[in-house]
Amino acid sequence: MTDLASLADDGLVDALLMEVAAMLGRLVDKGETASIDLRGLPLSFSCIANLEQRLGRGEILVQLDAAGRSELRETAFPGVWWTQHCDEAGRVIAMLIEVNTIPDILRADPIDMAASLRRLAGVTHHAAFRQASHA
Amino acid sequence: MNANIKPPPPAAKTPDAGQVALAMQGFVSDFGPTAALALESCVHCGRCAEACQFYVQTNEAKYTPIHKIEPFKQAYEREVSPFAFAYRMLGLVPKVTGAELETWQSLIYDSCNMCGRCSLICPMGIDIADLVEQARHGMFEAGLAPPDYLGVLAEKEHATGSPFGLSVAKFQDMLHAIGAAHGVAMHVDEARADIVPTVSSIDLKTYPGSMAAIARILNHMGASWTFRTDGFDADNVSLTAGDRAGQRTTTLGIVRAAIACQAKTLLMPECGHSFTEMRWEAANAFGKELPFRVMQITEFLAEALSEGRIRVNKVHQKATYHDACQVSRRGGATAAPRAILKALGVELHELEDSGDEGWCCGGGGGVALINRAAPLRDKVFQIKRRQVEATGMDTVYTSCSGCRQTLDHGGKATQWNKSVASLLELVANNLKD
């Protein structure tokens, strides 16, 4: 039965890899991004491990600390990302394969940037004041 | 409808309501737990057809053994079965009609040898041959036995104890004449004897030598024996015709005769159904176990040979053997003829289907006595012919005069060059002096 199960796993992994290839093709041709929600598919642990291994590791590993940790890893296939989000308790809340030049979540958000600009202005002013007082 | 089967004689009328009622009464009076179990158990698998010589040779579905007793089964379901009241109330099983009985007359008589091959193949353990015998009771009692040779003979047997209506005096004369012709001392109507042989009316009519053979062997053994003219014709045509009363009269006549001379052994002739009747049914008619043994002649000869009471010269011959269904498959004496052939030194080349699995010659169950069944009988005979030819033997031994007669007739009809011979006569002709 174990052999049968692993055989079925291999079939699923192959199908997913073909889907990833198709998605990457669309990214290259038309610039379309896409992702696969791995938790929404009936995959066993061994199947996910198998898939992760087949995709391999690339050059980038990003750790995100936003309401819990996230790890975004480039696979051995540039343009294909393995991303996993955890909540503050450390439990996995999402696991995806993203096909994108860079995962959207890594881009700084305009609203966050506006807020940081305001904060940055405050920090700068304070430093200048200190420097001036020393002189 | 098979083109070779003649329609019933034009005089025969469709059975009327009274006849149907009589048939029903006859059908239902027979059901004990055994028959009921049999009819309840059929799964309609159709395998019995493949064991039946009539189906195998014609490929006509109507010759399926279990189908041949359909009206009998219908009567059972309507009148006797556990849910009979519901079947009647809801009309789930229709009444048997006169037209149906008319159709089934030929199926139940002309195309069944009661050979029991179907009983052997049935996965549910249904003794279909036995059911056919029971079904014929109702048919006969309604006057629906074939209006032919069989019916006529049964009537005569019913009236006189012999299908040919032979009188006691006539029989005595015949026996003495046979003795004189064959140079053998006859014992007739002696007051006391250990062994009482009986004869088949076919022997009387066609093979008188077989009676001389019995006399010669019993004399050779130095046995105390006698023919009894008050109970000699064991043929029991009534059994195959379905005449319970005639069957009983004939049987009890023989039982009384054997008891009268304080016989220890009742010797049944080379005949099939008569053995079945005397061996298994006579005690039931008599009401208790019989005070003597009933033995078919092959059993008797095999036993006597093995005990050295008969001594024979070896005959250096090759031959094949045709089993009588009622003696071998149905009667439990399959080994006896083979032991006799061995004792005689005959090199036995068995038929492809032999012993318990042998095919009927086509004449069993009274079919030999139904003239209109002759074409069908000849078709069935072809199986035997093929199998005998396949052995390459020139001689077929058998220990049933009915079979012997059927094989002779079949052979004659097809210019067959094989000789059909009696095992009994073979023994009688090779006794050591």
């Binding site: 039965m1 199960a5 896409a34 992702s35 696969i36 929600d37 938790r39 929404g40 009936p42 066993s44 995100l64 936003a66 309401a67 819990g68 996230s70 989000h85 909540d87 503050e88 308790a89 439990r91 996995v92 809340i93 999402a94 995806l96 993203e98 959207d104 979540i105 958000d109 609203i111 966050d112 807020a115 | 009464q25 006859g26 239902v28 009076s29 059901f31 009148e79 006797v80 079965s81 556990p82 849910f83 009979a84 009241f85 009890l252 039982v255 009384r256 008891i259 009268a260 039931n284 008619a285 008599f286 009401g287 208790k288």
Partner: protein, 356 residues
């Protein structure tokens, strides 16, 4: 009513980045079985969304459902969503009591007429005029009908509110029923479970807040994303079921090996819920993982479906006494049939003779 701040503003004020919101949206789309591409839209909608009024009425209940929802894991955005909804009336939680509480309720209803969500936990007694459960002298039935009339939708939280639950268990002395038996003209979402999985409620609320509508429901009005599969379908012990490896008792080798609990009465195969995937207590475990079969608490009448420890394969067979009685009836009938057959069949037959 004062225009409140948006959820985006609230999050920003509390120091949550937009990344956190996007991450939450990614997790929610996954949880709601929506395509991952919807996540940015959901995040944007959530950021723009304003507070929603929720009125929570408790009927024949044990407060277990509320406890579960309040104790949902860590102070994440989940918790914020609960903060964000305006729980305008909840007897157990609100500070006000008596007539003050009554006034709050009336005000909230008047201010959000046609827009508020009505959340119900507990079943509604209908026998004897509903006298078995009253709030301020008013029956649960009356209150339900009154506040459902102006609600946008009704959330039946827990098995009692959804189907009647334990109060409805045989012999159901109070004539308890679920919300859907009484409210027929409003959208209803059933979130059954005893108690229900808290993440399901947040999922439903997030969907409602971000897209302005209820998620897809199944034929029992349950959110399809969470109740579309059975516990059995998602169970990590499922491979053992497929291989036919079953624990035969709670302490045998099979149980130690973590084999399937089907034979020990697990109701997983007929129970629709998300326990096996979302799990409990912050994703720690769920009953089967702890070695006990599912009792099917999110299914209607789960309390009356025989023992929790009787396997689904069987059923309640008839007792020996009834079987014996049936056999007696059968034999008697059979004997009568045989007798009547004998009478019908008996011909005047000659007796066998004994003397020659």
């Amino acid at each position: 009513m004062v225009e409140s701040e948006t959820l985006g503003e609230t999050l920003q004020r509390r120091g949550f980045s937009r990344r956190s919101l996007l991450k939450f949206a990614i997790a929610m789309t996954s949880s709601l079985a929506l395509p991952p591409s919807v996540a940015p839209l959901m995040a944007a909608n959530l950021a723009r969304a304003r507070r929603r009024s929720v009125i929570w009425l408790s009927f024949q209940e044990c407060t277990g459902c509320l406890e579960t929802l309040l104790r949902s894991s860590s102070p994440t955005i989940d918790a914020l969503i609960f903060d964000f909804i305006s729980l305008d009336y909840q007897e157990a939680l609100m500070a006000a009591a008596g007539t003050a509480a009554e006034r709050t309720l009336r005000e909230a209803v008047a201010a959000n007429k046609g827009e508020y969500l009505l959340a119900i936990d507990g079943s509604i007694p209908t026998k004897d005029g509903g006298v078995y459960s009253l709030t301020g002298g008013r029956s649960n039935h009356d209150m339900l009908m009154e506040f459902a009339a102006d609600a946008k939708a009704v959330l039946a939280i827990g098995t009692c509110a959804a189907y009647g639950g334990i109060p409805k268990a045989f012999p159901n002395p109070t004539g308890a029923v679920g919300v859907e038996d009484l409210v027929t003209d409003k959208p209803i979402v059933n979130i059954p479970g005893c108690p229900p999985v808290p993440e399901v409620l947040s999922g439903v609320l997030v969907h409602f807040i971000s897209f302005g509508k209820l998620p897809d429901l199944d034929d029992r009005k349950r959110p399809l994303a969470y109740f579309g599969t059975t516990i059995h379908d998602q169970c990590y012990r499922r491979p053992f079921y497929d291989q036919g490896k079953f624990a035969k008792s709670f302490d045998d080798e099979g149980a130690r090996q973590g084999w399937c609990l089907f034979e020990l009465g697990c109701k997983g195969p007929i129970t629709h819920n998300a326990c096996a995937s979302l799990k409990w207590n912050g994703g720690t475990s769920f009953p089967i993982e702890s070695g006990h079969g599912c009792i099917g608490c999110s299914e209607p009448d789960f309390w009356d479906k025989g023992s929790f420890y009787t396997s689904l394969a069987g059923g309640s067979a008839t007792g020996w006494r009834n079987a014996g009685l049936a056999a007696a009836v059968g034999i008697a009938s059979g004997a009568a049939a045989a007798l009547s057959s004998k009478l019908r069949a008996e011909p005047a037959k000659p007796r066998p003779e004994n003397k020659p």
